[in-house]
């Protein structure tokens, strides 16, 4: 039974009891507990079910490498799946739920997958369920989806707050163990700004637990003294419970803080001139049969739980190892008053200082021995002992409640490797360590990361301090600071004898055992799976990883990586360094999307652009529609009206009486300077430089591929100046496009551009009564003679300085009035008041769209999609044949853009006027392509019920369309077809008499 010891626990405060629930069961822990230590103290050894076979799983580790103890935290909007119990601080009232088990953790029906394990081997997704094909969609996939996977996704919006902030430092030290503390101190003493970040809730790393002394005193004293010294320095910032999750390009660093107050998590975005990675090492499991049974834990974790949290894993713990470090666990357990029935050491010679001490304490040591398998129902009840050199013949079975295993330690090289640092294989210590000759480099080509301590492959506990000092001084030197040169403190720890390679336990384990040797607990990958992948040709480590899923998911192979490489190496007859590692990519531990998004969600995700009249629209029934970053009224709904009814009313009223539209979102870019004419001639397909001041011209802009991307009316202001109107969504892009050409191609042209879009409010006054209402306001002569169609003038309208453009996007008599934005609402109010006598009514974007479609006017983004030329749209009249050059001219002469069978703009009238063609519907000609797909000959680009014509209308692009006027073609509509006649795209007032009035 796993329990709390009566005394001890360096990290817990027994005076503060915290209550929490585990799958509904009320439990208690202490302040300072992690969720994992609290669960273990309550004998909750079974904490989850495995991914594929639903095998019972327990806590294995005590840190971020934990593969099994993933739990659901909280409820409702604060629910978080896949939280690692080992790194989650226990909080009072915490709601904790197990994952991946149905109906419950102890009785899980998914365990049947385990009986089917022979069918669920490596690559089973790709093989087993291929046939019959139809079964995949209806049977296999839903079944696998229900059974596999980790935690469930939250079912509602995240109720918590998150934030991200920026930090800058000269030196960032990741890891607050003795190496990191020493490095931080050296860098700070050299006068540098230092940021020291530690993932755990306290400083000092493993040193205190591992019996290290500094200058003859316990390491804890030196840690406390150094932390106090650093805290007293203004240039040093220290952060606990913060994990450096990634070192990205050019040394950009992200760190995730589990915040105590305020937001739930903080993501720190850090720029440091140099990074010291003092991230320690992660212990490796040993590969023996049934090594995934709850109660089998890493030796270091057993020690941590006993020393930090006073958790007994059980009365009897068998230690199994291939190195000296695990003896510390045996000693710690004995010192806590618990029993270690045996230390099974795979090595034949066992004579280091630590083994001697264990021997002196009376702990039985069995050199050359190994575990043939763990035994027990659910959790560990004993281990079967064999010799490491053999094939697993069981010599005896030792009863026990826990197994502490150690396969050696792997430096946590993630930060070094993420930014491109290379590793070298250390054959003596059996580990990959940073190769100082090939570090990750920054923009200037110099190393940006220095590894220190265990992360640097310096495993002996006594040597870490010295390595940290060296790293801190090296970092200071690299930044041009003057580090201290004197002798630093000296750490000491017992000498350790060399590790011996144990990549399979026992070394001759037959297939039956290898089937049960787990390499990756989280993904249920066994030794046999990796060997099978190699036999099937997945020889590259990257392929083997993806085929077997070894090293994937939330733990990213922190425990399984080296073990898997060793098996792959054996299968291929290669060495581990020849196989190499998979790529280390950020993040080191999972980062929530909430933290990445920070405050940028909801209304703060992106600002909404609002026009000067936005408040009026909102108060008068506007149904909002996003248009680029703007919001615009789709229509103005009156009480009792549907949206469709409102739109139809707005169209009819504008055509019969008077409509008013907020057109402020229209882009307005001033192009001015001696070369402005030459420039607009280059931007637009037609000639703009011949335009006279006071006149307007419709123009098209194409990219260098010849495709139309924006359109609008250009007004000539004076000799040097043009006001270019763009689409509402295109103003920023068009302005950037102009600047790009001016800055990078024609930088000698004297042209200045300014995006004035938001400086003006623009109001379109549209309909037969448009002139009457403007004359009522008074101030400018707007008669047909004074201001003909496509002319503009300026003056004072109703006392407001205004420009009036006589342009029309509706086909009606229409004036667009631009006034300084601050006067927009005043003019709108005056127009509404003066227009009351003429039945004035505002209209929204949908009425605008319908009226332009009735006139056959194209809309960028509807009729165009980046593959459509002006010629395709019948706009040849707006493409100059005389100009030497304009953007897109050369491309429009390319073979594909001149071929006669291109899809071109036509009007479409359904044979049944009540039927509206679906938007985007494809026209088919009845033939079938070799691919089995029906050949398409066109598509619908705009489609509406026209209130004016009282029938459906549509625009579309059809192969050789204009040559086929009168022809009836068929559009696919789900299962059936809709027939439509090809007609001229101008449905209404083809002579343009209304707008010219």
């Amino acid at each position: 039974m796993s329990t709390r010891l009566a005394t001890g626990g360096t990290r817990i405060d027994r005076s503060q009891r915290l209550g929490f629930t585990w799958d509904g069961q009320p439990l208690q822990g202490f302040a300072g507990d992690t969720l994992a230590s609290a669960l273990l103290a309550n004998n909750q050894v079974l904490v989850g079910r495995s991914f594929k076979y639903h095998r019972p799983r327990g806590v294995v580790a005590a840190g971020p490498e934990e593969p099994n103890a993933l739990v659901g935290l909280g409820t409702g909007g604060s629910f978080e799946p896949n939280a690692r119990a080992t790194t989650t601080a226990l909080a009072d009232g915490m709601l904790v739920a197990s994952q991946n088990a149905w109906p419950g953790l102890a009785h899980d029906v998914g365990v049947v997958n385990g009986w089917l394990s022979r069918f669920l081997r490596a690559g089973f997704y790709y093989k087993t369920f291929l046939w019959p094909r139809a079964f995949w969609k209806r049977l296999y996939e839903p079944a696998i989806r229900r059974a596999a996977g980790l935690g469930r996704a939250p079912d509602r919006a995240d109720a918590d707050r998150y934030e991200y902030l920026y930090l800058h430092a000269d030196v960032l030290v990741a890891g607050g163990g003795i190496a990191g503390l020493a490095a931080a101190r050296e860098a700070a003493q050299a006068g540098l700004r230092v940021l020291l970040i530690e993932q755990e809730a306290c400083w000092g790393g493993r040193a205190a637990t591992d019996g290290v002394t500094v200058d003859g005193k316990p390491a804890a004293d030196w840690v406390a003294g150094t932390v106090a010294e650093l805290q007293a320095m203004e240039t040093v910032t220290l952060r606990l419970r913060t994990t450096v999750t990634g070192v990205h390009d050019h040394g950009f660093v992200t760190a995730l803080e589990a915040a105590d107050a305020g937001p739930r998590q903080r993501l720190w975005r850090i720029r440091a001139r140099h990074i010291v990675a003092a991230t320690g090492a992660i212990e490796r499991p040993l590969p023996f049969a049934q090594n995934d049974r709850p109660g089998v834990m890493l030796a270091g974790a057993v020690r941590d739980y006993a020393v930090h949290y006073a958790v007994s894993p059980g009365d009897r713990t068998v230690v199994v190892t291939n190195n000296d470090d695990a003896y510390r666990t045996a000693i710690a357990l004995r010192e806590a008053g618990l029993t270690v029935p045996a230390i099974l050491d795979a090595r034949l010679r066992v004579e280091g200082a630590l083994p001697e001490r264990a021997r002196a304490m009376g702990i039985p040591i069995k050199p050359g021995h190994a575990v043939a398998g763990s035994v027990g129902r659910g959790r560990v009840e004993g281990v079967a002992v064999c010799v490491q050199a053999g094939e697993g013949a069981v010599l005896e079975t030792i009863p026990c409640e826990a197994v502490a295993m150690s396969g050696g330690w792997s430096p946590t090289v993630h930060l070094w490797s993420q930014a491109g640092g290379k590793l070298r294989w250390d054959a003596a210590q059996l580990l990959f360590r940073p190769d100082p000759a090939r570090p990750p480099i920054g923009a200037d080509g110099a190393a940006i990361v220095t590894a220190a301590g265990a992360a640097n492959g310096v495993l002996p506990a006594g040597d870490c301090l010295e390595d940290g000092v060296a790293a801190g001084r090296a970092a200071a030197k690299a930044l041009g600071a003057k580090p201290q040169t004197g002798k630093a403190a000296t750490a000491a720890a017992p000498e350790e004898a060399p590790i011996e390679a144990v990549w399979c336990m026992p070394q001759g384990a037959p297939p039956a055992l290898r089937d049960k040797i787990w390499l990756d607990f989280q993904n249920d990958v066994t030794m046999s799976d990796v060997a099978l992948a190699a036999r099937e040709g997945y020889e590259s480590v990257e392929h083997a990883k993806r085929y077997t899923t070894l090293g994937m998911a939330t733990d990213q192979g922190k425990l399984s990586n080296i073990g898997g490489l060793a098996v792959l190496a054996e299968a291929r007859g290669a060495t581990i360094p020849e196989i190499g590692t998979t790529t280390f990519r950020p993040p080191f531990t999972p980062v929530t999307l909430g933290a990445i998004g920070g405050e940028a969600r909801g209304a703060l995700f992106k600002p909404t652009r609002k026009t000067a009249m936005d408040g009026w629209h909102d108060a008068n029934g506007a149904v909002w529609e996003p248009v680029a970053d703007w919001r615009r009224p789709f229509c103005y709904r009156k009480p009792g009206e549907t949206v469709d009814q409102a739109v139809a009313r707005e169209v009819r009223n504008t055509r019969r009486n008077l409509g008013i539209l907020d057109a402020s979102t229209l882009g307005k870019i001033l192009v001015t300077g001696p070369d402005a004419g030459r420039f607009v001639d280059t931007l637009y397909t037609n000639r703009m430089s011949t335009l006279k001041p006071g006149r307007c011209r419709y123009g098209l802009m194409c990219n260098e591929n010849g495709f139309l991307f924006d359109d609008g009316v250009v007004a000539r202001i004076d000799d040097h100046s043009f006001l270019c109107h763009t689409t509402s969504g295109g103003s920023d892009h068009v302005h950037a496009w102009m600047e790009e050409w001016l800055q990078t191609e024609w930088w000698d042209w004297q042209v200045y551009t300014a995006n004035l879009t938001e400086q003006f409010a623009q109001i379109a006054v549209v309909g037969p009564q448009a002139r009457a209402v403007l004359e009522a306001l008074g101030g400018i002569d707007l008669s047909a003679d004074a201001l003909p169609f496509m002319g503009w003038t300026e003056g004072t309208l109703a006392g407001i300085p205004a420009r009036v453009f006589r342009i029309s996007f509706s086909g009606e008599l229409s004036f667009e009035i631009a006034v300084p934005a601050a006067h927009g609402q005043a003019l709108w109010d005056r127009l509404m008041a003066a227009g009351a006598a003429h039945a004035i009514a505002p209209y929204g974007t949908e009425a605008l769209h319908i009226m332009r479609a009735e006139k056959g006017f194209i809309m960028i983004g509807d009729e165009t999609d980046g593959t459509v030329t002006p010629q395709d749209l019948g706009l040849d009249w707006a493409v100059s044949k005389k100009k030497d050059d304009f953007l897109g001219k050369r491309a429009q002469a390319r073979a594909d853009l001149t071929r006669p069978d291109r899809w071109r703009l036509v009007g479409l009238q359904t044979l049944d006027p009540r039927t509206r063609l679906p938007d985007g519907a494809h026209a088919v000609d009845g033939t079938v392509l070799p691919t089995g797909i029906r050949r398409t000959i066109g598509r619908v680009t705009s489609t509406y019920m026209s209130p004016t014509l009282d029938r459906s209308i549509a625009l579309g692009l059809v192969e050789r369309g204009p040559e086929r006027i009168g022809e009836v073609i068929r559009f696919a509509d789900g299962r059936g077809h809709i027939e439509a006649r090809i007609v001229d795209p101008v449905f209404y007032d083809p002579q343009g008499e209304r707008q010219n009035g």
Partner: protein, 107 residues
């Protein structure tokens, strides 16, 4: 996240302040160009593993375009310089040669 110094305003800008504009020093093919030359201009881009000249725009800063000489594999930056040039300036070429003696020079 890359950092590039904008030569116009002098700010050391994070990549999120910038937009990339692809290969630098392209020669625009005009209306008289052949089909092949024009297709080259539109579609063919150098994609070297190593020294590369790129266009960047400091869009969330001063709004100006500039050029950068960069190693696409190691992400080293040899320098940034004005967009108003048709070839990398001498000091940039010298900075590249100092770090990449084997470099064959601008195409």
């Amino acid at each position: 996240m890359l950092q590039l110094e904008c030569p116009v305003c002098g700010v050391l800008a994070d990549e999120t302040e910038l937009v990339p504009g692809g290969e630098a020093h392209l020669q625009r093919a005009g209306p008289d160009s052949t089909d092949d030359a024009f297709a080259d201009y539109l579609f063919t881009r150098a994609n070297p593993r190593g020294v590369h000249f790129e266009r960047w725009c400091h869009v969330y800063g001063c709004g100006k375009w500039f050029h950068a000489a960069r190693d696409t594999a190691t992400l080293e930056v040899f320098g940034t310089y004005s967009a108003q040039t048709t070839a990398p300036p001498d000091d940039i070429v010298a900075a590249i040669r100092a770090r990449r003696p084997e470099w064959e020079g601008p195409a």
